[in-house]
């Protein structure tokens, strides 16, 4: 298989792979079926993606950092150096207000509790919100965007008018009011925790972002020959959307899902900082900054540095990853 070729000429490589795979198959119908499933081609497309992605050093580093952060915070209970519910005995209290050291990387607070432990646990909440918001809004946004782009007409009109309306109200203000109004309320008989409310309202804001992207791609894909061919051979709209169009939209969807993770982490931390985010017992990184903001300028200012730095590192890793993915999905990005 001409792998060297595939780097420079994606199109030729794809043709070479499928003709190689098809050489053994004589039967015409099987051939047509293999082409429709598109398995050999899909595999090589992904290989091209990874090839381009790994060439993007910064994105690889960002992905590694991000995976590391997710693993470390997910297992925060066993990874963190101290217990989150540390017993406040004399020994702990003697450690109070110590700056960053080998024992306490991020220092300790007024009660001698380890700040790294608290940042890890708060980071778990923040990163979880980011991931879940991205997933929910991607599923919702892809579904609505696909319908609007494929069927057009009134579905499209309704979607575009709704997103227009969301654009003209100040987002942060609306999020704050929604959080205050919804917290403590029940949804289908299930009492929502503050982070569930946050995930809900952030997804409600971000889904339209994905929907607009998917709609845009669908509008151009709709005119492609393979969609026309599928329709001519009797494929249902559902099949065309799920088997042909969505797989070809996977690039923009994946990139924007990644970017939404970063946006969601930032927005959640902002809301929590303003006091309209996750509420105790949950603690997020923004809440930690909020709790210690009075320390700015004093000896214990490090209590503010590290939670904010954690947000910055996570979001910048997400953004670099998204940037790298965008380049990797774009066949014209080789320079």
């Amino acid at each position: 298989m001409p792998i060297r070729d595939s780097e420079d000429h994606p199109g030729r490589a794809a043709a070479a792979v499928s003709s190689g795979a098809l050489a053994e198959i004589a039967d015409d119908t099987v051939q047509a079926h293999a082409q429709e499933v598109g398995e050999p081609e899909a595999r090589s497309q992904w290989r091209l993606f990874w090839r381009r992605f790994f060439r993007h050093k910064l994105a690889v580093v960002a992905a590694t950092v991000l995976i590391f952060l997710y693993i470390v915070t997910f297992f925060a209970d066993s990874v963190s150096p101290y217990d989150i519910d540390q017993v406040l005995d004399d020994k702990t209290l003697a450690d109070a207000r110590q700056g960053p050291s080998l024992d306490h990387w991020f220092g300790t607070d007024d009660l001698g509790r380890d700040q790294l432990t608290r940042v890890l646990h708060a980071g778990r909440v923040s990163l979880r919100v980011g991931l879940l918001v991205a997933l929910v809004s991607t599923v919702l946004g892809t579904a609505v965007g696909a319908l609007a782009g494929y069927f057009g007409k009134w579905v499209d009109q309704v979607l575009m008018r709704i997103t227009d309306l969301f654009l003209i109200v100040p987002g942060l203000a609306v999020l704050m009011m929604a959080q205050k109004g919804l917290s403590g309320k029940e949804l289908f008989g299930w009492r929502m925790s503050s982070s569930a409310v946050i995930i809900l309202i952030l997804s409600f804001l971000f889904w339209q972002y994905i929907a607009r992207v998917v709609r845009g791609v669908f509008l151009s894909l709709k005119e492609r020959e393979y969609v026309e061919a599928a329709r001519a051979s009797g494929a249902s709209s559902f099949r065309i959307i799920t088997r042909h169009m969505i797989p070809n939209t996977i690039g923009p969807i994946a990139v924007n899902t990644t970017l939404v993770v970063g946006l969601a982490i930032l927005t959640e931390s902002t809301l929590s900082y303003l006091g309209f985010g996750v509420q105790p017992p949950d603690v997020s990184l923004g809440k930690l900054v909020y709790d210690y903001q009075g320390r700015v300028g004093g000896d214990t200012a490090y209590l503010v540095w590290f939670p904010g730095l954690a947000i910055l590192v996570a979001v910048i890793a997400v953004n670099f990853l998204g940037d790298g993915m965008r380049d990797a999905f774009d066949p014209q990005s080789d320079r």
Binding site: P170, S269, G308
Partner: protein, 345 residues
């Protein structure tokens, strides 16, 4: 210089304005329902000992009336018309300029919002001017010296700017400029202050600038990060077009082409993006104003949120939404006026 076909521009502008009126009206309907659903105007009376007070207030504010002029009912006919509705009363008073008085301060809402609005405009104006100058310079440089060391540095910095939580950056700026610098240089008072517009008893311009510096810095970081990226790609786009090559081939100097042909054309898309961002700023300064105790619109919103003052929240949302619509309109019009290709197509 700029050839403009006025009748065409006029119809274009009028059409855009006509389109934005129903948008604002629809927004007012949604904003009203949303505010009523999330914020209870009577919540501030939960501690009261007077059992009739809540009922009296309810009647005074008309909260016993149906929400909208038209409501869906299960009974026949399907639509019920309500001549007296909360929304109807509010929107007619709002349109007539009778915005009522604040629940908490008892001041006239219109003067309250106008006072805060002026302070926000001060902050925004300085922030925009500074950000635009820096962002355009960075964008032009990065495009002129694409893939140079500084270009990479600016790209990296803009990633930081866009990924940085604004509130944390503000706190770090206070940490360094209001406290640590004072200590390092042994000053008697901080170089930049972090609270309010003026020190007590002072009204001077220098005092104002020393209060302005940190909020403007916070505001500018994200604007510069976004706008410089945009200006860079817009410049690169323009610089690769045919008329630039023609100008160069005719012997026009590199700098002159860059500024007279490149920058001028690249500014058109940037201006529209700036207009949209500026519109969003009127409601988006919540964090900056909150941290620096800047008595503007953002701080007014947070204060009204905490007291559940719907008398202020509703007009606040309407005013900011109107500004966003107005500046989006301005962006459209600017684009149409400055770039004839858009208007004529």
């Amino acid at each position: 210089m700029l050839w403009v076909c006025w009748p065409a521009v006029l119809t274009f502008v009028v059409r855009r304005i006509a389109y934005s009126i129903p948008v604002i009206l629809l927004a007012s309907i949604l904003v009203f329902g949303f505010t009523r659903a999330t914020t209870d105007p009577l919540a501030r009376f939960t501690q009261t000992r007077d059992p009739n007070l809540i009922e009296r207030e309810r009647l005074r504010l008309g909260l016993d009336k149906p929400l909208y002029p038209v409501s869906l009912r299960a009974s026949m006919p399907p639509f019920e018309m309500n001549p007296e509705s909360q929304y109807g009363r509010w929107i007619s008073e709002f349109a007539r300029g009778d915005w009522g008085e604040s629940f908490t301060t008892r001041r006239d809402v219109k003067t309250e919002i106008w006072d805060k609005f002026k302070n926000t405009v001060k902050l925004i104006t300085w922030g925009i001017v500074l950000s635009a100058l820096i962002a355009i310079s960075i964008g032009v440089y990065s495009a002129a010296r694409q893939y140079s060391l500084l270009d990479y540095a600016f790209t990296g910095l803009s990633f930081f700017g866009l990924s940085m939580p604004a509130f944390w950056f503000a706190l770090m700026a206070i940490d360094v400029f209001s406290f640590r610098m004072t200590k390092w240089f042994g000053l008697s008072e901080p170089m930049f202050f972090s609270v309010g517009l003026h020190n007590a008893g002072q009204t001077g311009f220098i005092d104002f600038l020393r209060h302005l510096a940190l909020p403007v810095m916070t505001l500018s970081v994200q604007l510069i990060a976004g706008w410089s990226r945009y200006q860079r790609s817009s410049m690169l786009d323009v610089m690769s077009s045919d008329y630039i090559r023609t100008a160069r081939a005719k012997g026009v100097s590199r700098t002159k082409v860059l500024i007279k042909h490149g920058l001028r054309n690249a500014l058109i898309p940037l201006l529209t993006v700036m207009a949209i961002d500026i519109g969003a700023l009127f409601g988006g300064l919540i964090i900056t104003e909150q941290i620096f105790s800047w008595p503007g619109m953002g701080q007014l919103f947070v204060a009204s949120m905490q007291t559940g003052d719907t008398q202020i929240l509703l007009p606040w949302l309407m005013v900011t939404a109107t500004f966003i619509v107005m500046f989006n309109l301005l962006a459209d019009v600017l684009y149409g006026v400055l770039d004839p290709r858009i208007r004529l197509s």
